[in-house]
Symmetry: none
Subunit: 241 residues, 4 copies
């Protein structure tokens, strides 16, 4: 087992390790943890059947590694900017929605057989499998990625609603916003059948993001505490500049 603690970062031919990781990402995304066979992964990576056990100890160890790498990909570029309250909550919300949708959709563009189509992709599809059948890895993802994002979303919405982030209404609104976004990922097999013309081009992604943003902002304003009702009606629309 090489990864004792990995003080030597990596000599050279750990190319195998990365190829294994990449292949594993594809296959896990396609079939989920259970249905994925180590043999398939190794075949795609051009490695021996025992390579997984050597580099990752386990099939589960490999899955963990894939998930861990996936976490980095699920980056939070503008988290800083959003968390700081320098941005108006409307702008922050648009930023978050656009970011989530973009990251997810980019991943969804990956086509089977064309692994390079979505670089570091598959993490959304893996999450879909985790929804259907949670794994020990899910907890880590929630802790490191989803949880913080959820908290950030509630903070932004709380500012909009003038309610604390953990207020029930804030939570419901957070789920409303997030639900709209992730729907395009989770229900993809259904949506692609119900709306065949919907191709997730960048323009389309932008359109959807704008729709969700305005749709949600309107919904949020309707829930604002009456005290702040004066703030709306005038409501300078925040259409894309």
């Amino acid at each position: 087992m090489p990864p004792k603690d990995a003080p030597p970062p990596s000599p050279e031919q750990e190319i195998t390790r990365s190829r294994l990781l990449e292949a594993a990402g594809e296959v896990f995304a396609e079939h989920g943890f259970q249905a994925t066979t180590v043999r398939d992964i190794c075949a795609r990576a051009g490695a021996n059947v025992a390579a997984v056990n050597y580099h990752f100890r386990d099939k589960m160890g490999l899955y963990d590694a894939v998930l861990k790498e996936s976490l980095c990909v699920a980056g939070h570029d503008d988290v800083r900017r959003i968390a700081e309250q320098s941005l108006s909550p409307e702008i922050a919300l648009r930023l978050m929605i656009t970011g989530m949708l973009t990251r997810m959709s980019l991943n969804l563009l990956s086509k089977p057989g064309d692994p390079a189509s979505g670089r570091g992709s598959w993490h959304v599809r893996i999450m879909a499998h985790e929804m259907a059948q949670p794994t020990a890895g899910l907890d880590r993802v929630i802790e490191q990625v989803i949880g913080p994002n959820y908290a950030l979303m509630r903070q932004v919405l709380g500012r909009l609603l003038e309610l604390p982030p953990d207020h029930e209404t804030t939570r419901l609104c957070a789920h409303s916003v997030i639900g709209q976004v992730v729907h395009y990922a989770h229900a993809r097999p259904v949506i692609s059948r119900l709306w065949p013309d919907l191709n997730m081009s960048p323009e389309r992604i932008h359109q959807i993001a704008e729709h969700i943003t305005s749709f949600s902002l309107a919904g949020l304003r309707a829930l604002q505490s009456p005290a702040g009702s004066s703030k709306q009606c005038s409501a300078p629309n925040q259409g894309k500049p």
Copy 2:
């Protein structure tokens, strides 16, 4: 294979068949198609190991049968009333949201070990698995259940938006509404971790339905064609130009 086309409608001990179906529903819902073992199903049904192959030819045959039965259960009680335009679109929307959420949540309430908790349940969780890894059966479900529901929803929203049901804006709104609802089912493993206090009691379901309804109605009104802008403030919709 006895029931080739079932000229004798059913002798008597085809009670086994139904018990098999019921057990299969539970197990498939819990583990998905792949991860489910025929032995588990047969054990729960108190049937022989070969019973599945005898009655349904295949593990897949059993899955198909489960899905087919699931369709009937996914009833559309008020479809008639909604489709007829006797109801105002606002009321119709509330009815649909409440219905979807109720059906889903009732199913989600089913607890392992207590199969009767969600009678004829599991169909939502099976759908979650289908999302992660579509099966041939998904097309049938879409065709017979989801598609009609989607069309109905678009019809109702179209009336609200004063737009045709297949207008892009109508579709986006339909996805916004549906996304909010199904989110509570599809993302259940995550939500239950992010919001542990959320128990899907009937009261809670009602609260969520009300929230989604008012949230969506506000969002919809903001997108209404400018002709109806008098109903709201200035809010020039920023739908696609």
Copy 3:
């Protein structure tokens, strides 16, 4: 898994089960638990590779079954007669020694490749493996066979020594007697090389049994409590000088 609780004793074709047991006995005796492969057993039994898992759940389950059957073979025919004090302790001791040696030697006569040579045999050789590397099964054997035999032996020796059965001297003597006997089984690979002419014919077994009996009786008499010294000569103390 058939052996639910086995109320129906066995239909008919559980011939496979017994053939599996027999083959397992041979192979386990030859190679020990670890080094034995299920495939080898199944091949010898003319059964499928999965037969072991079907009938015995586990490789370990099969081993347990073999051990359990071995216990019955390790019969204690005259236990009753010996335990009842109707026999003089000298006779009882001779009986026990002869019995142990006979049972063990019969088993030792089984030759590889000739499985019928020692019917229900191999149990001694399995014990040899257990000595080298104890298994969970050893405890059961000790509890059910060895322990009672040990107690019986100590009872007989106690009567001879006029000491309680759990006196240290009684225990040491028991180990002396048992050690002499089992040596012919445990050290067989060595003995057969050191004394090639020693073939375990029935006559030879009788000779050895007689030798151990008289050798041990003399040793025991020398340790008898001084009160009974009239039975022996001066009884030179055997303490360290």
Copy 4:
């Protein structure tokens, strides 16, 4: 393979070789040849996985080397003194029994995790494994260690019995003595369960040695040729009729 015939006696880092040997001794003693993994040995020795193959060509090569070294350790300190007939046979016998038991018990005292507890130990336990499943190495051990000891024992007993060393009675007596001694090693897993209070402290070892000695001396005297019967009391020998 560096040490083809070792013209350079040893560079310096052949410290690895000895550490490998030592670790191998422990592990082989604990698990036997088959069940021992090269990885375990190398890990304990702090060496590379390929070290065994490099230094000893084979896992079997390492085992051979361990056995060979074990021979030297199984020293025969007082062999000279015993072989010379300067000692009375009674004393010689006591010496041999004590020596055998001490060497064996010292080894048995070695505790897992404390490799230094029995310095150069494990050779007895390896022998136990060899009893269960002889290896090519056993012949060498017999030839170099056990055989000479056996001959020496028969010589001493022959003097006691006034019979030639290769007389059947002498051999039987030798096995009786040896059987008693090695029993404490070979049947250790059983004995430790049947007699939990028996801890092999030096005092206990001394007690056992004394017991075996006096027990055996009495047995031997009873078998002495009648010509020497004057040395003992009446001693109605119960030799074979």
